[in-house]
């Protein structure tokens, strides 16, 4: 009964979504305020219906209702309670339900926080979100219904894929979806701007916190995904340029560009049509990511079961959504006039460069992603584009970006003063040069070009960011007053930039200094690796709640002192006997010691894979800092007072045209 209720609630939600999409649009055309106002209540009703639906499915998992096919396929009686909750989004159908739930959640948030938006703008934004919701609800109901019953009822389920029975993987999809779907709000604002033709500073101020919020979740999702793959996949890497990883990275790049171009649009009234285009592209790339994961077009670590009919549906949906919005863009965007002239030698000019590099990086990733498909379409050869391509293309594009980052707070809007810039950046540059020489030795005890370059850029970013804050504080009467006067958005920006730098240190140092060794070891054998002695103790069997495990004990000794005891595992899950490795990791701020258990050679010897991973944690610390920084920026009170600032900006140079 509960299950049927869930199914019914989902259909109800589709009906409500239709109202939410169509009614306000008609209302807008007819200037009918009451019709436009239905959007808000429809959005809330839809949210409630989907929450009910989602809870019903969760209930089916908790109560182990194996008469539901989806539950039977992804649940198992012995599975720990927490994984029964997360198993709801463990496979395609449920994860799509989570997707629509998150979409309804964002829509609900828009309906709550944007009450002060002009009614036409609010109605249009909710209408666009309604259209997106229709597409996904139809997708769930028509091709991926999680509520289908199964008969006869199995005695037990077949269990959640073991790779998902991990805290990291359990939290990775919801965060990623929060990010993916969050960009639908930015998208909706962009479409509303295209329809109304209204794109001013106030518009940018409404769109900014939503965009930043989506970016924040996407950042966290990617960070968790990276941490999880490091921990669980057993081969010690944190990023593989895997097609599906790229699918989440492209919206991140586009979103990062969007955040910066929105700043230009708000402060200077420039780059308007570019901002709108980026909003559309960021969301399109999110849809594209969904398509890639679910269509089986690309072979990947994370690929869902390939199902061409689903792939076709999503592709058709992408074609419709993006096609209509780009057509709208081609029709309406030429009317957006810049409020002035863009000089390259100014903050907006530097932000333009930031956008060029980010967009180029995004395009390069997209090209690498599609290139195998292109080759396969025009010839019979089959190729893959691996990490070497992405590394060679990506870092030359990101290098200049990091250099630009140092100028973030220093270069003035409208026109930069060379003297001020030189004056303010002298000391950071000096410090960065010193850091390039010293930092690798200080942190790892040796040096390499990659690490020195990474250190140089990172310290450059950090010192310029901190110096800017410091200058601000000093300009006030007291330090307290100074610190107080710094806006939350500024704190956020500074933290996020520092996060980027910390991440950069992690990436450059780890790629320069991480060491790996595979060895066949008998108990008692010792391997020397970069000053650490790894020795194998015993390997014993153990029982988990729904798996049996082989657990090895590995001792790590440095300078005659035991510094870590690791327990890498190889788990065999019931039912079905799928195997899963779980690495043993001794975490450290400056280095991780990492061991995964490989194959059993049978005569008491084991394959072991050992790593010394310097500074790898910095990568995720950096991601966390960006998350916190973005969170601060998105919640800046300035955005809440948007009403006060609704004056239409008077263009400084009204005569300027984009022709």
């Amino acid at each position: 009964m509960i299950v049927e209720l869930g199914h019914f609630a989902l259909m109800l939600a589709l009906g409500v979504a239709l109202v939410q999409a169509v009614a306000p649009l008609i209302g807008w055309f007819r200037h009918d305020a009451r019709l436009m106002a239905t959007a808000t209540s429809a959005a809330r009703a839809q949210f409630v219906a989907i929450v009910v639906s989602y809870l019903c499915l969760t209930w089916a998992f908790i109560s182990k209702d194996f008469s539901v096919a989806y539950v039977a396929q992804n649940n198992y009686s012995e599975m720990p309670f927490i994984y029964r909750l997360t198993a709801v989004w463990g496979a395609h159908e449920g994860s799509m339900l989570l997707w629509v739930l998150v979409l309804a959640g964002w829509t609900f948030a828009v309906s709550v926080f944007n009450r002060r938006l002009p009614s036409d703008m609010r109605a249009l934004v909710l209408s666009v979100l309604g259209f997106v919701s229709i597409g996904f609800l139809a997708f769930v109901l028509l091709t991926s219904d999680p509520f289908t019953r199964l008969f006869p009822v199995p005695a037990d389920g077949s269990g959640l894929n073991p790779i998902l029975q991990d805290p990291g993987m359990a939290s990775h999809p919801p965060m990623l979806y929060m990010g993916y779907v969050g960009f639908s709000v930015a998208f909706a604002f962009a479409i509303a701007a295209l329809i109304t033709g209204r794109l001013d500073a106030a518009w940018a101020r409404w769109a900014r916190p939503w965009t930043t919020a989506a970016w924040v979740f996407l950042t966290l999702g990617i960070t968790i995904g990276s941490w999880w793959s490091y921990h669980v996949l057993g081969w010690g890497g944190w990023w593989f340029w895997d097609p599906v990883e790229n699918a989440s990275f492209m919206p991140w790049l586009a979103g990062t560009a969007l955040i910066h171009s929105l700043a230009v649009t708000e402060k200077r009234g420039l780059l308007k049509s570019w901002t709108v285009l980026l909003s559309i592209l960021a969301f399109s790339l999110c849809l594209f990511g969904t398509f890639l994961v679910r269509s089986g077009v690309l072979v990947s670590v994370h690929a869902f079961a390939s199902d061409p009919s689903r792939g076709l549906f999503v592709l058709g949906f992408i074609g419709a959504v993006v096609g209509v919005s780009l057509a709208l863009y081609a029709w309406r965007a030429p009317r957006f006039k810049a409020d002035g002239e863009l000089r390259l030698w100014s903050r907006e000019g530097f932000l333009l460069f930031n956008n060029v590099f980010l967009a180029a990086a995004c395009g390069a990733v997209l090209l690498g992603e599609l290139y195998p498909l292109i080759v396969n379409a025009v010839s019979t050869s089959k190729i893959s584009v691996g990490p070497p391509y992405f590394n060679t293309v990506f870092f030359p594009l990101f290098g200049p970006l990091f250099v630009l980052l140092g100028f973030a707070g220093v270069v003035a809007w409208k026109r930069a003063q060379l003297r001020t810039i030189v004056q303010r950046l002298r000391i950071p540059l000096l410090l960065a040069l010193v850091a390039a020489a010293v930092l690798p030795f200080a942190l790892v005890g040796k040096t390499a070009v990659t690490a020195a370059a990474g250190g140089l850029l990172a310290v450059w970013i950090i010192t310029t960011a901190v110096a800017e804050l410091w200058r601000w504080v000093r300009s006030r009467n007291s330090a307290v007053a100074g610190l107080k006067s710094i806006s939350r958005a500024t704190w956020g920006m500074t933290l996020a930039h520092i996060g980027m730098a910390v991440c950069l240190i992690g990436i450059s140092f780890n790629s320069a200094f991480s060491i790996e060794r595979d060895a066949r070891m008998a108990p008692g054998a010792v391997e020397h690796l970069s000053g650490y002695d790894f020795s194998l103790g015993e390997v014993h069997a153990a029982e988990g709640p729904n798996y049996t495990a082989l657990i090895a004990t590995v001792y790590v000794v440095k300078d005659g002192e035991r510094i870590a005891t690791l327990h890498p595992q190889k788990r065999t899950f019931r039912p079905g006997g799928q195997e899963q490795t779980d690495a043993g990791v001794a975490k450290g701020a400056l280095r991780d010691l990492y061991v995964s258990l490989g194959n059993d050679f049978g005569n008491g010897t084991w394959g072991l894979r050992m790593y010394v991973e310097p500074l790898v944690r910095f990568i995720w610390y950096g991601g966390l800092l960006m998350f916190i920084g973005g969170g601060l920026a998105a919640t800046d009170p300035r955005y809440r007072l948007a009403r006060a600032a609704r004056r239409v900006r008077v263009a400084a140079d009204a005569a300027a045209e984009t022709a």
Partner: protein, 170 residues
Amino acid sequence: MMTRRRRRLAAVSVLVLGVGAAAALALTAFNKNITYFYTPTDLYEQHITSHAVMDLGGLVQKGSIVHGAGMEISFIVTDCTRTIPVRYTGVLPDLFRDGQGVVATGRLNGDGSFVASRILAKHDSSYMPENVAARVKQADAEGRRNCGEFKSMQPTSASVAPLVRAEKHG
């Protein structure tokens, strides 16, 4: 003082330059860094002798796995028509075994064998790269079944079917 027109020109040319540089970068990178995928039959029929890094796909021939000293292992990759011996040193993926579909990344050796630096096997018990599947299907249709009993291919039933890698850097 530049005129507006000239400033625009400068802005546009900088953008074009940036995008052009990026494109050039991408194209050079493609030239050097794409990996071609071959089955043993492809290697034979197309007379591939290149020593570039490539992906070799096929099935592990039954009974061909030989463990050497330390982490060394050798086995034969087949697509039911041609075979090629493969050598690899390192930890193997969990489900690497007889009859399993594998993709080995590495280089052709002068002696006609293949030295792998990375082995991929599907975690699910049913992985076969598309090209290999086509070869096997063809071999099957022509009545050549010299693979012995192997695991056939099938799109996976599990929701997430991860590839398991074994990778040896450097």
